[in-house]
Amino acid sequence: MTHQTAIRFLLNGEEKTLTDVKATQTLLDYLRIEQRLTGTKEGCAEGDCGACTVLVGRLYNGALRYETVNACIRFLASLNGCHIVTIEHLSGPNGRLHPVQEAMVEHHGSQCGFCTPGFVMSLYALWMEKPQPTETEVETALQGNLCRCTGYEPIIKAALAVNEYGTPAHDYLNAERENLLAQLGALQPEGRIETGPADDRAILPHTTEDLAQVLADNPKATIVAGSTDVGLWVTKFMRPISPVVFVNHLEDLKAIETTEDALSIGAGVTYSECEAAISAAFPHLEEYWNRIAGWQVRNMGTIGGNIANGSPIGDTPPVLISLGAEVTLQSTKGRRTLPLEAFFIDYGKQDRAPEEFVASIRIPLPSEGQIDAAYKVSKRRDEDISAVAAGFSVVVENGKITSVNLAFGGMAATPKRAAKAEAALVGNRWCSEAFEHAADAIAEDFTPLSDWRASADYRARVAGNLLRRFYLEHDNSQGSDADMPVRLAV
């Protein structure tokens, strides 16, 4: 079979066709080295600083969606049919500053300036989505951008003022939207794309069936969705990953479905794409969701990747396990579904055959009397990996705890339930003594590790204390006291 061998995309409005694109070629190196678009900076090459932030526009549900991404960990081959917009494209053809740029200049938003293009791009995306953001929205949009000079104050002020310098209606990307949509439409592939040299091969299957076929033919292939984990294997560890199967473009992995009793999310759905559906179905996850990585990473990273990565410190597994989620795997042999909990066998080992891919996750909707909570504790509030993450789901009927699911991340070699603590609760009355016993039982459930994120001692104490917090937050027996919150406000 012959396949398309070229990757085609728009770069700052200009069409590019590249043949023989290495699977591990990053967007950042392509921009800086090959295109000499040096406005986009490298500060870390691991997705954590935002200096490399660019916009990627893509077709999503028939519309054109622009999002910030980290060019440093985004692979060029994954951008077929997309529009890449860099800082160089912001000021109009007449050289006039863009409203975001003007606001940044007027508010003294740059000092050394190295972080600045990245901030401008994040604020640009924010302004297009929310021209008049709140301070919290600005902070959320900037979770993935580090500045070491300004202390952020002038940048926030600039962000709040952008709309005074111009409104999104006049922006080039909006003015040209129809055109761009048509251009990108024409760049969508007819079938599978295969490109790159033999030792650094990129495969973009056409559909999920095709994906299953590709994996059957290449069981050693590396699946790449958002590349927010895999990107680092390449940029930091220089690990060979060929052949690479990209899946982030597959519309049929992006379904989000709410049925009467469950929310189903395709494995290729990004954090940003499902944010609204998740918050609607599980209000307790709204705040938690925005504490996963930063905006750029949430625009790329998928739940499928978070699960398939098998990390003991991934943030979605504990909360999904506590909600009783199931994962569906697919291959040419068909589909199978298992409880997510059972998917994690041991450190670095999951119940997934090499030719299988994660297809979707199904999360049952809360039942009557179910109390859910999700907690993340990390050294820095935002864009940090959890020291401890926890998902709790407790059903209380007539003052009695009838069902308990307490799942933790960061406490063991896999995301894991606290069996002894659960036992201490189930069948008991909802009362502080029961939760004290449960918190004490955590010590028997886990022997966590010490590392640079937290000591074993801290992890163990926090895990127990999160149960205490859960009790206090949901206990109505003393009547709620608004003056005495038990948790820091956002």
Binding site: D48, G113, R461
Partner: protein, 774 residues
């Protein structure tokens, strides 16, 4: 040239950073953005994976054979000296030959056609070595009998034994203060282009071009006049690029000269953070005697610092810790000693404050101890111990310089008032008394910071100004631009001197070709020194223009003056361009070099006496925090700052420095944790693991003001004061506020003795320790 009608951009104005438009459009050029000439090669460092070992040899055959590799550089390829120690102690090789002294130490460099190829090849070396025991912190290194890396300092005044003997109270304690990575957004980078003869041009991101020039000459074995070092701008420095760029400049230059091709070297973030130095961590033992009113009678302190394997700048850094161990407080009897401890870690270096913050934090810890012991508001203890006004015999520092410009009393009082400190503190105590899970704390801490390099000879600067015959002005000075707005401020000085529009002045890259023998842009001294040097150059040209104008119009020189519409000559007003053109035609010299040296400073280190500082900058911050006693998580609710920059050259830029410094100081004491494993390997070596503050970590309410009534008593440039470093220490207020919140769980009876950085983990463990009644 363009016609200017409005004159703007003089001093004391909110002139925008001169690169702002370029920065927001991505057109500001950093070293890695410079177009590479054809044939440019890329170097990468190969590093050790043990902390301490006898080095027997390195098998580099696989490295040489790797794809794209052009050459490998080892110590044998160094034509001159294998030494880049900035203080001339000869203890810092480019590449070691006998001993490996820290995990991640550069051992060789690979040069390849691409950076990727070089980076991959650098992993392939096989190092033959005998591993030796290592010690990575100052206490275990001392216990292991490791030497001091440089001579310690002792500051002594009064009679310490008598002081302790008569004091009503005495407390001994210890505080551990973590280090800090600079985490400048632009990492280290050097790009060397070989020239004819012995020449080489190095573009790089250093705060100290002259030192880089001298180091490159030293390793190449050529005179300094063969080496040009250029710095257009840095993507942040903070001290991390004062001496640490020497290594990269040396490697690039050696490679470029050996191969006759341009060579660029840019480590990745992990290597940047493991192979270059950081802020010194300290373990400080203190002993305080004080009376029942909280007045300090005697202080003794020993300041042990993790210096790393070589001296680098550890001598002056640990000295400065002692110089600031008094912060704003008078110690009647005092003895302070430093222990610059050698350790098997990367050699620590300059970082904003240069040891000063570690001294200040010790002072503030002692205040806290007294406050908890006597059940007083720490602010009252602070006030009771402030330096006096010179009339009460309470203004002599431990280094025998008298504090003559003290304004800390007024700064603190104004802030106490504007932040409503007392009432809020009461409210917080009432809130905490309810015994909830969340606890709050508030602290108002002062800072006094000495300005000048303590190495007296560094306090000099040069500048070069050309006025072209079209009236445009070219300005160059020895300072480097790393975001602080130095170029903008110096240009404002020059614009005002000539009374011309700011935009008439072009500020170009810093280069050793134009201004020689410069000092590092450090110690907050950039505008003080270079502003004066530039003014001196401008004044020379002005003087020539004045005498030309007077002569040509037949008036006296007194009748000539520069004004915003032009030069008044008698009753005539001549536009600047026109006069310049006339002067040129009349063969007037329109170029000048300027020079400045700070007056009235001296320092006798052996005696521990002198006047090392030209003046002091002052400030204060009041911070309020909430902690969660179940997890140790916290957030900063509010911070109020009043800071003294004298008569600000540029209030907008100065405010930016204050805000940025506060957040950076807060980061140092909260989430920024350097963590080494048992192998001596730093495991927090990139932003994924090393957490500097984000936008959402800012205080929920942030009120920052400059003390606009302040004016430098000394004849500094336009009576301004240095601003780079002093506000960094305002972040200590957050640390102290956390301490109060923690203390509330034991009803403020116990000083929590928080260690820095106060990560959520340390906060929780302190809470639990206090609850258990430690």
């Amino acid at each position: 040239m363009k016609h200017h009608t409005v004159t703007k951009g003089f001093t004391h104005q909110n002139q925008k950073h001169d690169s702002a438009v370029k920065q927001v459009t991505g057109r500001a050029e950093y070293t890695d953005d410079i177009a590479e000439p054809a044939g440019t090669l890329h170097a990468y460092l190969g590093v050790s994976d043990v902390a301490h070992a006898k080095l027997n040899g390195i098998d580099l055959s696989k490295v040489r054979d790797a794809d794209g590799v052009v050459a490998v550089l080892t110590a044998d390829d160094i034509p001159g000296a294998n030494d880049i120690s900035p203080t001339g102690r000869n203890d810092e090789p480019v590449f070691p030959t006998e001993k490996i002294e820290f995990h991640g130490q550069p051992l060789f460099a690979v040069i390849a056609e691409t950076r990727d190829a070089a980076r991959r090849a650098a992993e392939l070396a096989e190092v033959d070595c005998d591993v030796l025991p290592h010690a990575i912190d100052p206490v275990s290194a001392r216990d292991a009998g490791m030497p001091l890396i440089t001579e310690p300092l002792k500051l002594e005044r009064g009679d310490i034994d008598k002081g302790f003997a008569t004091a009503q109270n005495r407390i001994k304690g210890q505080v551990t203060v973590g280090g800090q990575d600079h985490m400048y957004l632009e990492g280290h980078i050097a790009f060397a282009v070989p020239g004819e003869d012995e020449d080489v041009v190095v573009h790089c991101s250093t705060q100290h071009p002259s030192e880089a020039q001298h180091m490159v000459a030293h390793v190449l074995g050529v005179p300094s006049n063969a080496v040009v070092v250029n710095v257009r701008r840095m993507g942040g420095g903070f001290g991390g690029k004062e001496s640490q760029m020497n290594l990269f400049c040396a490697v690039a230059a050696i490679g470029a000269k050996k191969l006759g091709r341009p060579v660029k070297i840019r480590p990745d973030r992990d290597q940047d953070m493991t192979a270059t130095g950081k802020r010194h961590d300290f373990v400080i033992d203190y002993d305080i005697g004080f009376d029942n009113d909280g007045r300090i009678e005697a202080v003794s302190g020993e300041f042990a610092a993790r210096c790393g394997y070589s001296s680098d700048l550890s001598g002056p850094v640990t000295d400065r810790a002692l110089f600031h161990a008094d912060n704003a407080y008078f110690y009647p009897h005092v003895r302070l000693t430093s222990r610059p401890q050698k350790t098997n870690t990367v050699s620590n270096t300059a970082f904003r404050g240069f040891g000063g913050p570690q001294g200040v934090i010790a002072a503030e810890r002692m205040i806290e101890e007294i406050a908890f012991a006597l059940d007083k508001d720490p602010l009252d203890v602070r006030k009771a111990n402030f330096y006096g006004d010179g009339t009460d015999g309470r203004n002599l520092t431990p280094y025998h310089q008298s504090v003559d410009d003290n304004i800390i009393g007024r700064v603190v009082e104004e802030l106490e008032e504007s932040s409503d400190y007392r009432a809020r503190r009461e409210g917080i105590r009432a809130f905490n008394a309810k015994g909830g899970i969340l606890r709050r704390g508030i602290a108002l801490t002062p800072v006094k910071f000495g300005i000048s390099f303590t190495a007296t000879h560094y306090n000099q600067a040069g500048a070069l100004i050309h006025v072209y015959n079209d009236g445009s002005i070219h300005l160059n000075h020895g300072g480097t631009e790393m975001g602080q707005g130095l170029n903008t401020k110096v240009a404002q000085v020059v614009a005002e001197a000539f009374q011309v529009d700011f935009n008439r002045i072009k500020i170009t890259k810093t280069t050793t070709e134009k201004v020689p023998n410069t000092s590092a842009t450090a110690a907050s001294s950039g505008s003080d020194l270079n502003g004066m040097a530039a003014l001196n150059a401008a004044e020379q040209i002005k003087a020539r223009l004045v005498s030309f104008a007077a002569e040509s119009r037949g008036v006296s020189e007194d009748a000539v003056s520069f004004g915003p519409t032009g030069i008044s000559i008698g009753t005539d007003v001549v536009p600047f361009d026109k006069l310049v053109k006339e002067a040129y035609m009349a063969r007037v010299h329109l170029s000048a070099t300027g020079f400045y040296k700070t007056p009235d400073i001296h320092w006798d280190r052996a005696a521990g006496k002198g006047r090392p500082f030209y003046y002091y900058a002052y400030g204060a911050a009041c911070s309020e925090v909430t902690i969660d006693t179940l997890t140790g998580e916290y957030r900063v609710e509010r911070a109020d700052i009043l800071h003294d920059v004298g008569r600000s050259l540029n209030p907008a830029l100065d405010k930016g420095q204050v805000e940025g410094a506060f957040i950076q100081g807060m980061g140092w004491l909260t989430t920024e944790e350097l963590w080494w494993d048992d192998e001596g390997r730093l495991r927090t070596h990139a932003p994924s693991t090393y957490k500097i503050p984000l936008a959402s970590d800012r205080p929920r309410e942030f009120n920052v003001k400059l003390a606009d009534w302040s004016e430098n008593r000394e004849m500094t440039i336009k009576r301004s004061k240095a601003v780079g470093e002093p506000p960094f220490m305002l972040g200590i207020s957050v640390f102290e506020a956390l301490s109060m919140a923690v203390a509330s769980v034991a009803d403020y009876r116990i000083c929590p003795r928080l260690e820095a950085p106060a990560t959520p983990e340390r906060v929780l463990l302190a809470v639990e320790r206090l609850k258990a009644g430690a």
